[in-house]
């Protein structure tokens, strides 16, 4: 194989002593050709399935279109409609409520468990706990929600039976407006906290042991040590966990779709559910795209806001 390579390089060699440029430019050309070939699948794919669709979403949002008839220009009509449609407005409110509670709960649970797992214990036990908390992440959100629908059933669900043992009256987990959102959040957090948990375990392992020892010697104690020493050192990881957590939470779909189908009423209808329903059930592609564009703007705004806020709170070592 090496022998085949040599003739390809050799013809260049006579020129090489005078100016080394041709030789390296041949190599550059080879490297450019290879780069083009290597990048083509990814770049073409991204352009066709992400860049064009983003532009398409914006364009579509300015048209009325039901796939069957020709599209007609609508200007801002879809956006006006979106802002006056109570279901859409409620879905944005639901999604924001979901985001705040789901992300907060997820981060707190993950952080507390990561700190606890990081304490002293046998190595095998630590890896058992780590695997247990990580496990729900590998399951499908849709099928897990099917399972949870039974567990949270008001009449024969295991959750209410367990609560009954300690004398709590049956809770209408999925059928009352207030409880339904809480249930969706619980199910979501149950499956998702492992992600932040893994990030925190990684982040805690990166903190040098000496810093904690120094803090202990200076008289810092349990909770104070964590608040004043661990948290600032963990703040870059906290930022990533909350950014990823928020972006994911704003796109929640499977849990409310399977658990409650957006109900009761519109109590758990989320923005992505509205996009799905208006596009693929009601064939209102223009309105669906307008909602999509607004969701995109919301995600970008929240993320930008977070990075701005984080400048004050994130400390890099």
């Amino acid at each position: 194989m090496t022998n085949i390579q040599i003739p390809a390089v050799r013809p260049q060699q006579p020129a090489a002593p005078a100016t080394p440029a041709p030789r390296s430019s041949a190599r550059d050309r080879g490297s450019r050709l290879l780069a083009t070939l290597f990048l083509a699948p990814t770049i073409v794919g991204i352009v066709v399935f992400t860049v064009v669709p983003i532009v398409g979403s914006v364009v579509l949002s300015l048209f009325h279109w039901n796939v069957i008839d020709d599209p007609s220009f609508a200007g801002a009509a879809n956006y006006r409609e979106v802002f006056t449609d109570s279901t859409v407005l409620v879905s944005f409110r639901n999604t924001l409520v979901f985001m705040v509670f789901a992300v907060a709960l997820q981060l707190v649970v993950a952080l507390v468990l990561a700190l606890a797992v990081n304490g002293r214990m046998p190595v095998w036990l630590r890896s058992v706990f780590r695997s247990a908390f990580f496990f729900p992440l590998v399951l499908s959100a849709a099928s897990i929600s099917v399972v949870m629908k039974y567990l949270f059933n008001q009449d024969f669900g295991v959750v209410n039976w367990l609560l009954g043992l300690v004398g709590v009256a049956p809770v209408p987990w999925l059928t009352s407006e207030n409880a339904a959102m809480a249930t969706v959040i619980l199910v979501y957090v149950w499956q998702q906290f492992g992600f932040s948990f893994l990030l925190f375990v990684g982040g805690l392992n990166n903190i040098p042991k000496e810093i904690h020892e120094a803090a202990s010697l200076d008289g810092a104690t349990g909770l104070r040590k964590h608040l004043n020493v661990t948290l600032p050192l963990l703040s870059p990881t906290l930022l990533v966990a909350s950014v990823v957590g928020i972006i994911n939470a704003l796109q929640v779909f499977e849990q409310p779709y399977v658990l409650t189908n957006g109900g009761p009423g519109d109590a758990t209808r989320t923005v992505v559910m509205v996009i799905y329903e208006s596009a693929f059930e009601q064939l209102r592609f223009g309105e669906a795209s307008a909602v999509g564009v607004l969701l995109f703007v919301l995600i970008m705004t929240v993320t930008a806001l977070q990075f701005r806020l984080s400048r004050r709170f994130v400390h890099y070592q």
Partner: protein, 284 residues
């Protein structure tokens, strides 16, 4: 002296280890409880499925519910569809991410920075926002309601590309330079020097792709309209819809069946999965 202070501070200030471990054990039970309940209920006869208190070990284990799943839905077809989609996407992503990641890490070409910026930026774009135009693009290609429609758009992976770029950047540059002095061209340097070293990174990309696409629900729900193109999660949710008053043990048996490959990947691919997730946090 300092050792005495350290051990003193440990006993005085941190929660007693046994209490911490007991609390962790309760949390682990809560986390795994629903899964254990699912498996145990799927092994009860449909008539006993609703029994409370739920017996974790069924008195009379039966596989009746499992044969019920096979009667209600074409499990083999759904599993075949899921396997085809997941395997092809995983292999496809390993190839595209490996190649693109290498190009960004080790090759010189014009517009490298803006192109890499483009790839990074698409990590921020949620699938749900672009799904309507993506659906229309696929429709114009005649790929709606086909498995290919699920597979082809999933080939480019921004995160995978990013991960592989980091991976290749972490390899010593001298290896390639030495090969170049030996007369290797850019392709040979990739093929014989760097590509073989990339296997662990590619495993991370593959396992992440497997986990995501085996469980994927949103795109199949939109793209696949005829039952013969359903994947497992879609089939399961429709199984639950078919039953109405029927037995939960049949539904749960279906859930268990669909979990098996995911659990297998968890057992075998736990390490790459964890590394993939952790590097999502560490590298950004």
């Amino acid at each position: 002296m300092s050792q005495a202070t350290l051990s003193l501070s440990r006993t005085r200030h941190s929660l007693a280890p046994w209490a911490r471990i007991a609390a962790l054990a309760v949390c682990a039970l809560l986390t795994l409880g629903p899964v254990v309940w699912t498996v145990s209920t799927s092994l009860r006869t449909p008539a006993e499925a609703f029994d409370l208190p739920p017996k974790i070990i069924p008195t009379d284990p039966s596989l009746e519910a499992y044969s019920g799943v096979f009667d209600q839905i074409d499990v083999w077809l759904l599993a075949l569809n899921s396997t085809l989609v997941t395997a092809l996407v995983a292999v496809g992503q390993m190839i595209t991410a490996g190649l693109a990641g290498y190009a960004f890490a080790r090759l010189e070409f014009r517009f490298k920075k803006p192109l890499f910026g483009l790839v990074l930026a698409t990590m921020m774009v949620p699938l749900q926002v672009t799904i309507v135009p993506v659906f229309l693009v696929l429709k114009s290609m005649g790929l709606t309601d086909t498995l290919l429609g699920l597979i082809i758009p999933a080939f480019p992976t921004a995160f995978g590309t990013f991960l592989m770029r980091q991976y290749f950047l972490g390899m010593p540059k001298d290896l390639g330079e030495a090969a170049m002095l030996d007369g290797c061209g850019p392709w040979r340097i990739f093929r014989s020097v760097y590509a073989p070293l990339a296997a662990p990174g590619l495993a991370i990309v593959g396992v992440l792709a497997f986990n995501y696409h085996w469980n994927e629900f949103f795109r199949p729900l939109i793209l696949e309209t005829s039952g013969q193109n359903y994947t497992l999660p879609l089939g399961l949710v429709s199984l639950q819809g078919n039953l109405g008053t029927g037995s939960i043990s049949v539904v749960l048996a279906g859930v268990v069946l669909s979990m098996i490959p995911a659990v297998a990947v968890f057992v075998v691919g736990q390490r790459p999965l964890r590394e993939g997730i952790t590097s999502a946090g560490v590298n950004r």
